[in-house]
Every structure is written in C-alpha cells, then in structure tokens.
C-alpha cells in the first residue's frame, strides 16, 4: 500500500525533474530567438551579423547531431561534415527541382530539408554497416575516411535539370563538364563538379533555422528519456552488460547513427539553401573538427552546452575580424579558457555549487511539500 504510493510519487517527481532540465534548454533557445528577432527587425543587427544567423543555426543543429553520436552513443565520428554535405547538395537539387512546382518557399525549404535528411540517413546507414563494427580509434579513423570520400564524390558530381527530369553524371576523370549532361533546351545545370552548386535559390530563413534547432532538440531530448535512448546509453556505458540484458547493440547504435546523420543532413540542407553557390570542399575535415570542438567544449551529452558552444565559437572568429592578425590567437586563447573552465574539477564543482544555490531557491517550496508527504 505504502509501496504503491511511493511508486507513483517517484515516477511523478522523476518525470518533473527530467522535464525541467529539458524545458530550460528550450527556454534558452526560444528566448535567444526572440531577442535576436527583435534586434534584427529594429535594424540593430548589421548586415554582416544578419548574414550569420542562418549558418549559426545550421552549426547548432550540426553540434546537436554530433552530440548524439559522440555524447550519447559514445562513438567518436570525425566525418560528420560528410552528412552535412549530402544534405546540402541533395537539398539543393530538391529545391531546384521543386522550384517550378511549388511557389511557396516555406514548403519548398521544408521539403528540401526532409530530402536532405533522407539522403543523409541513407548514406549514414550504408556507412554505418562497416563503421559500427569497429570500435574506438578505428571507428574514428574510418569515419574520417568516409567524410573525405563523400567530399570527393560530391566534388565529381555534375547535375542538371531539364524538361526530361534529372540528369546526373560523375566526373571521375576530370574530362566531363556540365555540357556533357546534354540538357534539353531551357535546361539548367545545378551542380557543376568542383565548381559546386551555382545559381541556386536562397530560400533559407532564420525562423526556419530556429524551428530546426527546436526539432533537433525535441528529437534528441525525447529519445534520451525513452526505452530506445536508455538502450543506446547502456551500450555506451557498458557494451557487454547491455548485451547480457538482451539488447542488440548493433541495432541501437545503427539507429542512433542514422538519426544523427539525418539531423546533420537537415542542417546541411538548410545551409545549402542559404547560399546561391556552394562547393563540396566547404564540408571537409576542418568542418568536422570544428563541429567536434563545439560538442566537446559544450560538454558530451549536454545539449544546451552544444547550443551555446556552437553559437559563441562560430560567431567569435567573425566578430574578431577587426583584430585581423590577432584573430586566431584570441580564438585559441578562448578555446583554452573554455576548456579549463569546463574540465577543471574545482571550477566544475564551483559552478555546480552556484547552480544548486540558484535552483534551491526555486526548489524550496517543492521540498517542503515533499518532506511532509514523504514519511
């Protein structure tokens, strides 16, 4: 009897506790969006700053996506920009194909993002088959290789559309160009090998980026609180123990990896829709590492941390442009400082103390009612 009551209470408080930390994250993102929107609509944001809004959103989503792989699934992936690339280019093709069919840019962008996510998921699945059999460093190195392979493949891609539909050729030997597509009259080459995608429509908006961040947050935070999410975390914490309780490790790792690739693909599609030209070499090893830096500095498994780290560290080098030569120096110093702040045990303890003091102010009322009902 008392047991039952105890059960219900623990479950209730458990859910409340979880929901609270999730809602703080949503709250911060929504508040930031509102503030930035007010700034930009009142013209306080310079042209340059306004141009950063969409890419910042893309990199936040990339960081969230990679945090799913590295933080929650516990596997180091060094080729995440590859999925972004697949999403960007498939999204661009989709949006150009739909250009004549769909007038509404919002719907067109949404479809492009879905297409980007879909193709990145397929590529994620195909890469996952060999990669997820590997462990640790080997897995990391092979993802790095796949990231580069994707980049090189897209670098050879020549795509055009005409009234007969889509034409795709691969320029492996360097002897083919857009002319080899043999497009019918009125046709248009969208992707021209190493030149990349050119003359594509800029349909991305800050609002779309904001919505995409919320969706990515929603997917990942919901997942973590579910049976599937627990299985994924269990495989990370102790693979052998997870197998011993009947969890098919490969299945859950694959699910997390494909989901992560899909989210990265959606971020890529949004990124691609923000520019009128786009080259495959943008999504190279450096970009993968940049995103990894966001994730590591934001904290493994910490979604709000990823959002903040991606925002600050993406904007910082741009904001420092005035300092010209000192730019990278300052950037490096900031990276080191953040690393010390987030990894020094004493500072972490101090931060947690501050946090608990703040949250205890909120908790006071709740604790009272709990201690009265508890015993």
């Amino acid at each position: 009897m008392s047991n039952k009551k105890n059960t219900a209470m623990t479950f209730g408080s458990h859910v409340k506790e979880l929901a609270k930390s999730d809602f703080i994250t949503y709250g911060v993102v929504i508040a930031a969006f509102i503030i930035v929107s007010i700034f930009s609509s009142s013209g306080l944001l310079g042209r340059k700053a306004a141009g950063l809004l969409v890419p910042v959103c893309c990199y936040i989503v990339m960081a969230l996506s990679l945090n799913l792989t590295v933080g929650i699934m516990g596997e180091l992936s060094l080729g995440h920009a590859g999925f972004m690339s697949v999403g960007a280019f498939s999204g661009v093709i989709a949006s150009m194909l739909l250009g004549e069919v769909i007038d509404n840019n919002v719907i067109r962008l949404a479809v492009a993002i879905l297409v980007g996510a879909f193709f990145a998921a397929i590529v994620g699945f195909l890469i996952g088959i060999p990669v997820l059999r590997l462990r640790g460093d080997y897995l990391a190195i092979v993802t790095l290789a796949f990231g580069e392979i994707i980049k090189d493949l897209i670098n050879c891609l020549v795509v055009g559309i005409d009234k007969n539909g889509l034409h795709i050729i691969f320029n492996f030997k360097g002897d083919k160009s857009a002319a080899d597509l043999n497009l019918a009259e009125g046709g248009k080459a969208i992707i021209k090998g190493a030149q990349g995608a050119t003359g594509t429509d800029k349909i991305a908006t800050f609002a779309a980026g904001f919505v995409l961040i919320l969706i990515a947050l929603f997917i990942i935070q919901s997942l973590v609180r579910s049976r599937v999410g627990r299985a994924i975390i269990a495989c990370r914490d102790n693979r052998i123990a997870a197998e011993s309780v009947g969890i098919d490790v490969m299945k859950y790792k694959m699910f997390a990896f494909v989901l992560s690739a899909a989210i990265a693909g959606s971020a890529g599609a949004l990124y691609g829709a923000n520019y009128s030209n786009l080259v495959a070499t943008k999504f190279d090893f450096n970009t993968s590492i940049l995103i990894l830096v966001f994730v590591v500095l934001g904290g493994l498994g910490n979604m709000l941390g990823s959002v903040i780290a991606a925002t600050v560290l993406y904007i910082l080098p741009e904001a420092l442009r005035e300092f010209a030569n000192y730019r990278m120096l300052i950037y490096a110093i900031v990276l080191i400082l953040v690393m010390i702040l987030t990894n020094n045990p004493r500072l972490v303890a101090l931060r947690e103390k501050l946090f608990s003091k703040v949250s205890s102010v909120f908790k006071k009322g709740k604790k009272k009612s709990e201690s009265e009902g508890g015993k």
């Binding site: 059960t7 219900a8 623990t10 997942l223 627990r230 269990a234 052998i240 123990a241 011993s244 009947g246």
Partner: protein, 279 residues
C-alpha cells in the same frame, strides 16, 4: 533453516532436486569445451540444472569458472559441446538472444551502467518487456507514458525486493560496493530469466552482507521460481545455499554432488582445500 534437498539422478547421469523431476531441466550442458590458442580453458563440462535448483560452481583461481559463464552466455563461442536451454539449443545465438531465451547473469568485476540512475539500470534490464517502439521513443504519445509508468512501477517493485527503493534515483556508480552487486542481480532479474548466473556475488562483502545475500538467493528462487547457478569462493555461502555443487579444476569437472558429498570428497580436498594450506 536450510532444509536438505533430496537429489536424484536423471538419465544423463547428473543430479537435480527431486522436486524438479517432473519438469524438464532448465539447462542441459554436454561436453562443453573451449580452447584459447593452445590452452584448454574448459573441457568436457557436462551438467544438468533443475528448474528451481540452486547449484554452485567452485574451484581454485583460474579453474575456468567464469569461462563457463561466458560460454553459457555465448560471450565466447564454444569449441566443443552443446548447451540446451529450456529445451532449445543456444548454438549460433548472440549474447543478447541467449538472454532473451532465458539466461541472465552478473559479472565478477561489476558491470553496471554507472552513469545512469539505479532505476534506469533496472529499466534497461527490462528492455525487452517494455512496449515502446522506435517511433514512440521520439514522439511520446499515450503509449509512451503508459509504458514508462508501468516500467517505473515494475522497476521499483524489483528494487523493493532488495530494499533499494530509497536509492532509486541515485547514480548507480555512486552506490557502495555491496549495493552495486545487489543492483546487478536486480538488473539481471529484470530480464525475466529462467536461470540466473551469479559470478562471485559475495566478493568484497562483509559477513553480515553475505548472510543477507544467502537469504536473498533463496528468496530469488522461491519468489521467481527460477534456477540459480553461482560461482563463489566463500565456502559457507556455497555449502549453505547450494543444493548441487560442481567442482572445476584446470578446466575439468573433478567432482559433482551434494554439499555433503563434496565436503567429503578427497579429490576436492586435495585440489581445492589442499591448495589453500600450501598458500
């Protein structure tokens, strides 16, 4: 307290408790063996375990006891022999599949999901009985909340069995050693096994904890009506709780029998207890 169980011989020349005679055995192992390169770690290992039997697997360090558990759960693929679990062969099955067929285990060196809460560890154990698919893991509908509530209630029930409900929301890695060992047992029980394998459950426990564990092992068998197979160096626990005992030395079975028979067996005394004197 510890009523003597009458052990009877079955056709495969093994002994099981008389009360399990009318039920098919949970585990029939015949001629099981594995080689690691040139080393034969386990050889010609044959035993039968009754439905509700508590049996012990003992032997000096390095005898191959843990290896037997790893063979039973297909962590290692046997070089020779057959394992029949609940009437079905486990050959070619993965560790996860073998668990779903009915074997759960704990580990000699504790393997908890130490960053997760205690209750979540148990919920991971219940993985295959929670009705929640991939879609509802992301889009939490009514089904999700129903499944999660039922899971939390069941998990707390299991924790209550070991008096662990008050630490349900603590991090598993922060528990004291004894509690971690108990949590591993709860997690294994959460998979609804037909037999639970305990690898040195009393290691690192003080005498009062060990006594409590002994009681708990009997309670597990009585409440869940499952078989228990345990590896243990603590002879008081083994002799006090096990109905059938199997002694392993250098990978081979050197004796099988009731605790009384094992205690009186000269080969065992020489191989096992004799070694102790030397040391």
């Amino acid at each position: 307290m510890n009523k003597k169980t009458k052990m009877v011989e079955v056709p495969s020349h093994a002994i099981i408790p008389e009360r399990d005679l009318d039920k098919s055995p949970i585990l029939e192992i015949s001629h099981l063996g594995i080689d690691f390169g040139g080393l034969t770690a386990v050889d010609d290992f044959s035993i039968t375990v009754g439905r509700t039997e508590i049996c012990g697997l003992i032997g000096p360090n390095g005898a191959g006891k843990t290896t037997v558990f790893n063979l039973l759960t297909n962590v290692y693929t046997p070089t020779r022999g057959a394992i029949i679990l609940d009437g079905k062969s486990t050959a070619g099955k993965s560790t996860a599949q073998v668990n779903r067929m009915g074997i759960a285990r704990t580990f000699q060196n504790i393997r908890l999901f130490s960053n997760m809460s205690v209750i979540d560890n148990v919920k991971v154990g219940m993985h295959n009985s929670i009705k929640e698919g991939f879609v509802s893991s992301i889009f939490h509908g009514m089904g999700y909340f129903k499944a999660e509530k039922a899971a939390a209630e069941r998990a707390l029930e299991l924790l209550d069995f070991f008096g662990m409900t008050d630490v349900a929301n603590d991090e598993a890695g922060s528990l004291p050693y004894g509690a971690q060992r108990r949590l591993e047992i709860v997690r294994a029980l959460a998979t609804n096994p037909g037999i639970i394998l305990l690898d040195e459950p009393a290691a690192g426990m003080n005498p009062s904890e060990t006594a409590e564990l002994m009681e708990n092992i009997r309670r597990i068998r009585d409440t869940f009506q499952i078989a228990v197979m345990l590896i243990e160096h603590d002879m008081n626990l083994v002799m006090g709780v096990c109905e059938g005992i199997c002694v392993l030395n250098y990978g081979k079975i050197i004796a099988k029998g009731t605790p009384e028979e094992i205690k009186a067996n000269p080969t065992v005394i020489e191989a096992y207890l004799g070694k102790r004197k030397e040391a």
